[in-house]
């Protein structure tokens, strides 16, 4: 069964078709990248898949279930997790607490137990804490665990966001420009991390501007321009596709190819 299937997804903002009739599939363990020029609708597409925007048309199917426009917290229960282009970190919490929050679905319990600090509540907290520490070690942030997240460098925050998303042990992970604003070393670290996560069976859906990285790690690439899918396929195919080249160069033919 296909893990995630996007079928004819579209949305309109004030009469403007931001995304129109986009379809593709993601299989377990696969790295699928969505690329396209600025304003092509990549983040909007992500926001629809992850339930932040209500799609105007089309369906999102996760593990055979129609989850179109479902609330993000319900999607999380069904195994979808994501990161954000413009970081959504809990700034006032420590790095460790940020990572622990990724375990929310596993650590939550009766509120009364939490209020009274009952052993069950303490045990849930402890387990989440241990899991979070292991994850922080995996992304190289274990030494910053007790620092306030707001004080971390941009690249570290990017990794922290990935760690938080991984804590949910998702079936599919949406990464919105994980390497944006990172230096070469950080990019390579994130690159390795993504490959490692995919190898463990989690499917990755990636929006990224760093073409070298996209070509290196993707199994499959979907190209958007002006909200429409203009090409898809393996990295080598896509990079030779004239419509894709035109879209990136912004020529007249490119505009025609949007059709």
């Amino acid at each position: 069964m296909t893990l995630l299937s996007v079928e004819g997804l579209g949305i309109t903002f004030g009469g403007l078709k931001a995304v129109n009739d986009v379809s593709f599939k993601v299989e377990p363990g696969e790295i699928v990248s969505v690329i396209g020029p600025n304003g092509a609708g990549k983040t909007t597409l992500f926001n629809m898949i992850s339930g932040i925007y209500q799609p105007g048309a089309g369906r999102v199917v996760l593990k055979g279930e129609d989850v179109t426009g479902m609330r993000p917290d319900l999607l999380a229960r069904r195994g979808m997790s994501r990161t954000f282009q413009n970081l959504q970190i809990f700034q006032a919490m420590t790095v460790l607490e940020n990572a622990i929050s990724g375990f929310h679905l596993r650590e939550k319990g009766p509120v009364l137990a939490d209020l009274l600090n009952l052993p069950a509540s303490r045990r849930r907290s402890r387990e989440a804490r241990e899991g979070a520490l292991a994850l922080l070690a995996r992304v190289g942030l274990d030494r910053a665990a007790d620092r306030e997240a707001g004080n971390l460098s941009y690249g570290s925050l990017k990794r922290l966001e990935i760690a938080r998303a991984l804590a949910m042990n998702p079936a599919v992970l949406l990464l919105d420009e994980p390497a944006a604003g990172c230096n070469a070393v950080e990019t390579e670290e994130i690159d390795h991390l993504i490959a490692e996560v995919a190898a463990s069976g989690t499917a990755i859906l990636l929006v990224e501007h760093d073409m070298k990285m996209v070509m290196r790690i993707s199994n499959h690439i979907v190209v958007l321009d002006h909200g429409e899918k203009i090409a898809e396929g393996a990295p080598a195919e896509v990079s030779r596709n004239p419509a894709v080249i035109a879209a990136y160069l912004g020529t007249e033919e490119g505009a025609d190819a949007d059709g």
Binding site: S81, R82, Q88, I89, F90, S101, H104, R124, S125
Partner: protein
């Protein structure tokens, strides 16, 4: 030496303050002022959970204090309940009302919550003022004795009325602070602080944002209700002012003045704002002016509140 957790440290500081301050009281009157600070501190601890942890605001929490207070006046005479059970009944009614009012509102953004809670508080005060037959109207109503002081006397512990309420309210405040601190470090507390930081990110890790906000709202309503009950029982009398708009505003101001993010800070704020009018009786005329000014100045210049800012200065981190 093992490092003291923030929770234990806060509780120890509070307990020490409650135990030691009476040695410096020039007269018995100060027990009353102390008890008032503790009751306000309790209500404000509830605001910490709602505003400091979850980032939501209520401009009508005095309404819940009114419900708690009038439960202690009415339930013993009309239902034959012992005053201590009336406290529980008031808290239960407050919780149910908070749940009913909060459910539609908390799905929406801050302004709506502020306005709806403002309206709720005004409504409660209106009912208390208008239903004279039951509540005695604006003149207020008598509240029966809790009876605990007599019980303690039978057991050989003799306290003046002022002393009794000072230590009793102090203990309740300690319990309230303990619960709020438990919550802070618990899964629920983390989820509340997470949705405060970024609602959208909290949702993506699976936090049911509306449900958690509602929980915080209900819990904080219970704090306000119990505080209202304690005021009524201590004074053996209650008027609708306890549910008034200005009382709601006072609660919020105390919390943000001291620092809504920390239990100790908020209680500190409650102390400052309770003592201020006692220290400067000439200020009575200026009370609203000062309250309004404090709200604006703190939010513009000391957004974390007084206590966190002072602590930072003391540590000299300059962060």
């Amino acid at each position: 030496m093992p490092k003291l957790s923030a929770k234990s440290a806060t509780l120890l500081v509070l307990a020490a303050l409650i135990a030691v301050t009476p040695f410096f009281f020039p007269s018995g009157y100060y027990y009353r002022v102390g008890a008032l600070i503790f009751v306000n501190g309790l209500a404000v601890t509830g605001i910490v959970i709602l505003t400091g942890y979850a980032g939501q605001i209520s401009l009508g929490h005095a309404g819940f204090a009114g419900i708690g207070g009038y439960a202690c006046a009415l339930a013993p005479t009309h239902l034959g309940l012992h005053p201590s059970l009336a406290v529980v009944l008031g808290a239960a009614i407050s919780a149910v009302l908070a749940w009913l009012v909060g459910r539609p509102i908390l799905r929406l953004k801050g302004y709506y919550l502020a306005v709806a809670t403002l309206g709720f508080g005004i409504l409660v005060a209106m009912v208390l003022n208008n239903e004279r037959a039951l509540t005695g109207g604006p003149d207020g109503i008598a509240v029966p004795d809790l009876g605990l002081r007599g019980l303690l006397k039978d057991w050989g512990l003799e306290l003046t009325n002022g002393q009794f309420w000072y230590f009793f309210c102090g203990l309740v405040l300690l319990a309230g602070a303990w619960i709020a601190l438990n919550l802070h470090q618990s899964p629920t507390g983390r989820a509340l602080r997470a949705l405060h930081g970024s609602e959208i990110a909290a949702r993506t890790v699976g936090v049911d944002v509306a449900r958690l906000k509602l929980q915080a709202f209900v819990i904080s309503a219970v704090y306000a209700s119990v505080a209202g009950s304690l005021v009524a029982l201590q004074n053996k009398f209650i008027t609708p002012d306890v549910a008034g708009f200005m009382h709601s505003i006072e609660m919020v101001t105390m919390a943000v003045l001291g620092g809504a993010g920390s239990v100790l800070g908020a209680i500190f704020g409650a102390g400052v704002l309770t003592l201020l009018p006692q220290a400067l009786t000439v200020l009575a005329e200026y009370e609203q002016l000062v309250l309004g000014l404090v709200m604006m100045l703190v939010m513009i210049f000391l957004r974390d509140g007084l206590l966190p800012s002072i602590l930072r200065k003391l540590r000299g981190t300059g962060e």
